[in-house]
Subunit: 270 residues, 2 copies
């Protein structure tokens, strides 16, 4: 809940060298199982934290069903809008895994069995004694022009096509795929944060907090109520790209809390 | 990951009385804290399961930042596309809570202090001894024409405007608000599911499973690999509106698994 407006967002613009370049991303979680509530998504927060460490900011996420037309339209909309798009889900061997074909359709390219992906899977099943069935060969279907994303864990690769990175839905597989991408992504400024918490109500400090935000438009200040059994309070999260400015605003936030008679703690409430 | 295509989806159409009416929803999770990875969303799966019980299917979810223009554009896009829209987050007393004002802007209506909301909050702070500050009065700002959504827990209400339902982001508050809506929502067919799991690889059964899906186009069959320490397997989830058809497909799925020498269990793996 930062106070950043679109017009305040630092843009990648050579004419404003004093503002750090922000690199943006959209995450698409593809799968009926997340929409039905069967599976609680575990990927978005991991991806968001990981990407921020390498200077890529997730600015939107969508959960969409396994319907080809929806995947095609959504991918084409968001790949034009963000620097990077990361998808999870739908690249397994079964009939309901339609992400690779949908991405090919979105880009208007053909799709077929990728020689390197076939070799990886063939070696894997030879080693484990499993049969390399037609269904498993589906996992080597990669859109023309895509480059593979390594999967050291279960072998079946993801792929990158343009600025779209297609990964598995199983969290531990997704995580090794994301790890392997670090060198391929060009990050910009890293968003850093400071958190100050206190046993005080949001409504008590809201007015002064709004004034603090107005004095520091380059720092996004979010206010998050928390409940811990019978105690409650507020965590203030300062986000921005300038560490010194963040420290200053965090100090001011702590002073603001003290002025209302509460004791600020650095970080999340204990 | 069902095999349902848009053209297969039962549509609310009087000319096809044999197909049950599907009522659709989109969930908007509003908040920088979810996008930054600070907070792992706990609301989507709860909302999806709760709504399905009353015959409303979540077909899409989006996580968007606290930026007015993004909220306005997204709300206007999805309220035209789905029967219902449910938002969470951004209705507190601080400067970063901009959901109510953004919804008013999306609908092109004015916003002000709602008399009933003011009375509820005034009574609450009189009872608890808290000061009813200007900031706390912000929580009574409701777009013109909206009706309130009760909040028995922390009093500050949500609201409904048209087909958009605006709720709190704190899960336990969101949940009581959602509970209070049951009578106001007109549900259609309830999507039911059957789950059959076994210690067998997806790739082993994929071919036969695809054939099973083709024989039963009205039932969406999803295949989800799972890992439990050193064991792994597959959960098959059948979803549809006809309980008898679901039972038949679940029986066929169990038989399919047995034909490969594995033992199916009803439900998620133990």
């Amino acid at each position: 809940m930062s106070g950043l407006k679109p017009e305040d967002m630092p843009m990648p613009d050579a004419a404003t060298p004093s503002r750090p370049k922000l690199v943006t991303a959209c995450v698409l979680l593809i799968g009926d199982e997340v929409l039905s509530g069967r599976t609680r998504d575990a990927n978005l927060s991991y991806i968001a934290k990981h990407l921020n460490q390498i200077g890529v900011q997730v600015r939107e996420a969508r959960v969409i069903p396994d319907i080809e037309s929806v995947i095609v339209d959504t991918v084409n909309e968001v790949r034009a809008r963000y620097d990077y798009v990361f998808t999870t889900g739908g690249i397994g061997p079964t009939h309901d895994d339609i992400t690779a074909d949908s991405i090919a359709k979105a880009f208007g390219v053909a799709i077929g069995h990728h020689p390197q992906a076939m070799a990886i899977l063939e070696a894997h099943y030879a080693e484990t004694g499993g049969e390399f069935t037609e269904a498993r060969k589906r996992m080597a279907r990669i859109p023309d022009g895509a480059t593979l994303i390594a999967n050291p864990l279960s072998k079946a690769p993801g792929f990158q096509l343009g600025n779209v990175f297609v990964m598995a839905g199983v969290p531990m597989v997704m995580q090794v795929m994301l790890d392997s991408l670090t060198g391929r992504l060009e990050g910009g400024a890293t968003m850093q944060s400071r958190t100050v918490s206190a046993q005080i109500g949001e409504g008590t400090i809201a007015q002064k907090l709004g004034e603090l935000q107005q004095r520091h438009p380059d720092i996004g200040i979010g206010s998050y109520p928390y409940y811990r059994g019978k105690t409650f309070g507020t965590s203030l999260v300062m986000r921005g790209t300038d560490p010194a400015a963040l420290d200053r605003v965090a100090d001011e936030a702590a002073a603001l809390i003290r002025a209302f008679g509460a004791e600020p703690v650095v970080g999340e409430p204990g």
